[in-house]
């Protein structure tokens, strides 16, 4: 249980963040300059807030009224930065054990061997950070933060500096960390699909305030959140299990809630749980099942909500889970779409992006 109520003024910027978190992983989502990094800085004890209170699992780390302000090095709040911040003069191994060595035996929740295995970084222990690729550096930074056994791990856009291919390599590790360590995490990002890959629980921050907090499909019922999410690129993430490979026709089948999804061929073992990202703009809607069309995926579902954002319309469809399709107001009008109606979500195989295996 994480209890945040912090405020701070810096020139024209004001942070006023109230947030109570019970879920293991929360995505903190907001545009640039919304106060995400500032909030993380105050949680970590690196920026002093003007007032408020912050407690983790009942331990008060900051309370302006009672004059409590635990220094950063006593908070045990882990940080993973966008720019990894590995110590350049230390080997990977020394980087990893930097925080671990400062803990008493009974405080250690993870050991080096576990983390090395979990993050697959055993072969680079003797190297120095400048010899690693960007993705490897982030894995080491993640391991270093975890080994310090934090009570809360803050991830500040850890993938923002990486290209898509590397992101897809790291996401599964984050997923593993979530499942294996039970360390609560706040994951900051402005990429919806990254966050959805890890968790459905999101807190939306804008202009220094938390607009909404809860399940993604619940929070986007708030129009301010919806328009914000929309402006940053609405994305759907579907979890599925690989059921078949066909190398002759170059496709892979994955099962989701009884639906079969046809994806471009990619090399993962049969049965593997995967996450697939589908931008809302890449989902078309049809009232009937289409024939004579190259689009390979037609998923039946029921419209649960239709909302207009600017000049576009976002249609929520329940296909076993909620997905959001972005269409024009004209299309909604022409097809006479309304909540409760049965529609087919048309998704090109090529429009789906593989986000990495979601579990073992």
């Amino acid at each position: 249980m994480i209890d945040i109520d912090l405020h701070l003024h810096r020139g024209s910027f004001a942070l006023d963040a109230k947030l109570r978190i019970n879920q293991p992983v929360v995505g903190l989502f907001g545009p640039s300059g919304s106060g995400k990094s500032t909030l993380l800085g105050t949680l970590a004890g690196l920026i002093k807030p003007d007032g408020g209170r912050f407690a983790v699992d009942g331990d008060c780390l900051f309370d302006a009224a009672q004059g409590i302000d635990l220094p950063a090095h006593q908070r045990r709040i882990g940080l993973v930065f966008q720019d990894s911040r590995l110590f350049p003069h230390l080997s990977v191994r020394s980087n990893l054990v930097y925080g671990l060595d400062l803990l008493r035996k009974q405080q250690r929740r993870l050991d080096l061997a576990n983390i090395v295995e979990l993050l697959e970084i055993g072969h680079m222990l003797k190297q120095h950070p400048h010899q690693l690729s960007g993705g490897e550096r982030q894995r080491v930074a993640l391991g270093r933060a975890l080994l310090a056994s934090p009570r809360l791990l803050l991830l500040d856009e850890p993938l923002a500096a990486l290209d898509t291919r590397l992101k897809n390599q790291i996401l599964p590790f984050l997923r593993r960390v979530k499942e294996h360590t039970q360390i609560p995490m706040i994951y900051v990002s402005h990429a919806i699909n990254e966050v959805l890959h890890l968790t459905q629980t999101m807190a939306i921050i804008e202009g220094g305030s938390i607009l909404a907090h809860g399940d993604f499909h619940e929070v986007i019922k708030d129009d301010r959140v919806l328009s914000l999410a929309h402006s940053l690129g609405m994305d759907n993430v579907i979890n599925a299990a690989v059921s078949e490979h066909n190398s002759e026709f170059g496709y892979t089948l994955a099962e989701h809630n009884g639906h079969q999804l046809l994806l471009p061929y990619f090399d993962v073992p049969l049965g593997a749980a995967i996450s697939i990202s589908i931008p809302a703009t890449n989902i078309a809607l049809a009232r009937t099942r289409q024939v004579g069309i190259t689009i390979q995926n037609q998923l039946p579902g029921v419209i649960t909500a239709i909302r207009q954002v600017d000049h576009r319309v976002l249609v929520s469809v329940n296909i076993g889970c909620l997905v959001i399709a972005e269409v024009t107001a004209k299309a909604v009008h022409d097809l006479g779409l309304a909540p409760g109606q049965q529609v087919y979500c048309l998704i090109k195989a090529q429009a789906m992006r593989y986000l990495g295996a979601s579990a073992n």
């Binding site: 990094s37 500032t38 800085g41 970590a44 004890g45 690196l46 920026i47 220094p71 950063a72 090095h73 006593q74 908070r75 045990r76 709040i77 882990g78 940080l79 930065f81 720019d83 990894s84 911040r85 110590f87 350049p88 003069h89 930097y98 925080g99 400062l102 803990l103 120095h128 950070p129 400048h130 010899q131 270093r144 933060a145 310090a148």
Partner: protein, 241 residues
């Protein structure tokens, strides 16, 4: 030719050894305070910071005889502090080689501080934040992150201080005089030879010796810095908090 160049008289040899001794102890003496003041100036904001900064840098812009004279007034046997040092501890600084160390330390201090301050301010403070978040207290952050990453700058500072001390003249001669075997360092010996008939040849030998020493010190510092920089390579990133 070269052999005769290196064939030193006992007096010349004494001047050389004294210079090295004074420069060595000067460097040792300012090492810790130099790094401490540089860290304060680079990383902390406090009342009186610009005053401290000016005080440290004064010897750079004053004629060296001025600090020398001030030292004589403060630390001379009749001086405010010198008298007390003599009575309480039996320490005499004026006209001794230890006084020469003090004089050159005062003159070399700003060079040391400048080099180290620059090096510390270039250490990514984001790395220090990362170390804190991993549980390191400020002292540990300094010794395990800031200090090692500033090592090239510290080496530069030490070498500059050493070289400055080898060349110290004005403050030294004013504070501790020109006593053969006690305070007559290389520059003072060169000056002395130029003041006596037939002294040009020995003066020239000591000039060449000074050149070689300074050159050697600079070369050595270059090499050490390059090696240190290579060890620390790969540092990038930017500061946010």
């Amino acid at each position: 030719m070269l052999a005769s160049l290196l064939d030193f008289t006992p007096a010349e040899m004494a001047a050389l050894l004294l210079s090295l001794k004074v420069a060595f102890w000067c460097t040792v003496a300012i090492c810790v305070p130099g790094v401490a003041v540089a860290w304060l100036l680079a990383r902390k904001s406090f009342v009186g910071k610009s005053l401290l900064n000016s005080l440290v840098h004064l010897p750079l812009v004053l004629p060296p005889v001025v600090p020398g004279f001030l030292l004589l007034i403060l630390l001379g046997n009749q001086g405010l502090i010198g008298k007390w040092l003599h009575q309480a501890f039996g320490i005499t600084l004026a006209f001794t080689w230890v006084g020469a160390v003090v004089a050159s330390a005062v003159m070399a201090f700003p060079l040391m501080v400048r080099a180290v301050r620059l090096a510390i301010s270039q250490v990514d403070s984001g790395l220090e934040a990362a170390a804190q978040s991993l549980g390191a207290n400020p002292l540990r952050v300094f010794f395990t992150v800031t200090l090692p990453l500033a090592v090239p700058g510290i080496l530069t500072g030490l070498m500059l201080a050493f070289s400055r001390s080898l060349g110290e003249f004005g403050a030294t001669i004013t504070f501790v005089g020109n006593i053969a075997g006690e305070t007559r360092t290389l520059p003072l010996a060169i000056f002395t030879y130029t003041q006596i008939p037939g002294g040009d040849a020995p003066a020239m030998r000591l000039v060449i010796l000074s050149l070689l020493l300074a050159f050697g010190a600079l070369m050595l510092s270059e090499t050490l810095e390059r090696r240190a920089a290579r060890l620390l390579a790969g540092n990038g990133g930017h500061d946010r908090y």
